[in-house]
Amino acid sequence: MNAPATAAPPAVRVRDASKLYASSGGELNWAMTGVDLDIGDGEFVCAIGPSGCGKTTLLNTIAGFIQPTTGRVTAGGRRVSGPGADRGVVFQEYALFPWLTARSNIEFGLKMQGLDAKARRRRADELLALTGLSHAATRYPFELSGGMRQRIAVARALATQPKVLLMDEPFAAIDALTRTSLQRELLRIWQELKLSVFFITHNIEEAVFLAQRVVVMSAHPGRIREIVDIDLPYPRDRADPAFGELYARIGAAFAQTDEASA
């Protein structure tokens, strides 16, 4: 499922990206080295790996929150020099603005674009309907469950109609049952809106359930270990033997990275 070799640039292209950090003690640490990755238009890519493997660093680089020490990142053919509304981001938890209602949170990006109140409200209501939370529009984040909060966070990130959705362990703090339904919903939205998704997880099953390609990363220094294609049709069945095979294969790659970093 690699991006076709046409003239159109991929949704995201990362070339030889590395990031060097200095700890407060002055010690240097390569959080990420020599990362090459293309995310095609409409492609769903998961990144998985132990802590310190640089998966969040990679996401932050694509989002434009940090600049790579070496290498370059482009989104839609344009060099990434900072965060922008063309790349939506969903964080792990507690990223909704607690002083805004669910609807106002969704409207925030549109307000920044200078949309008038009527248009903002119409778009926010569409997104509330898309995420099945029309009844919670006037509630504050503290009045929402963890699963509802993450749905609103997805809706907020989608409001500005980004081409790419970057998700940093968005369902890690959600209970298993709710997580399963959120995963199904995410796939539905991804297919409906034809988005490119880059999704970080530490859960192999989640990666196999969601992604078309899984990027397995390893730590010290952070780098890409292997990229596994998941050629299973959607919707996927966790009981399918092919699902188990891919799970085992990624698990094995994971174990290798553990040995390598131990």
Binding site: A63, P83, G84, Y94, A95, F97, G109, K111, E143, A159
Partner: protein, 297 residues
Amino acid sequence: MSAALDDLRRLDAAPRPDAALDRRQAIEQDFRREQQAQRRRGRQRQLLLGVAGVIAFLLAWEIAPRVVPGVNPKMFPPPSQVAGVLVDMTFRTGEIWPHVGASLLRALWGFLLGATFGVAAGVLTGRNATLRQITDPVLHGLRAIPAIAIVPLAIVWFGLGDLSKVMLIAWGAFFPVWVNTFIGVRDIPVVYLRSAAALGASPFATMVQVALPAALPFVFAGLRQATAVSFVVLVAAELVGAEQGLGFLISFAHLVFRVDIMFVGLLYLGAIGFLADQLFAWLLHRFFPWYGADARR
């Protein structure tokens, strides 16, 4: 016919589902009633004991000057006498109101002025490192000076009128608001800033629409502290020189040796301070419903 059949069914089907439901509802209702009664008893007890405490205190105060030898009731007026003067000044002559009004206006304007500059300075120095580094030594140096020590200087500069009081209160209110806002803005969770950036917010929009609301719990802590400071500075300024105001009333009573009037002034100051704080808490709850919940999480 069908009613009769129903009756029959009710008799033979032993654990009917809605019978169980009825039973559960009855238990729930009893439980709820018992809980409410318990809570009511708790509240009544608290109120009763609180009132008893106040009465005991007033009684001790009333009796002490009469039974303890060598106490001059003029120096230590009992509550009955203070109450009489209080009612007189409040309702009969109404002479307290100009003092209350003058003090409130000064406190309000001074507070608003100081808080406005405090919030602005806090947001700016919290968001802009260069500005922070330039202003840090000066602001922290000035903050170390007790506000009351500036009273004579303010009188020299702004005279004995309202202006010097307002400026002094603004000065006193500025620092707690500034420091708290600054800390709140500096320590905003980075996900808020990143969310704003990813949603295309400009630096100015981020400052006003993200940094400031995110820091609101801290801003409010600063504002609350500033109300208390405002009253301290207000009274200090009025004691030194004024023609009106509760501080002036107390110092005037001192000159004419009317301790009971002093007490009236103190009571009004206490009541105003208390009400201001309550009003503050109410406004907070009314306009920022997410505030408490967010602070708890």
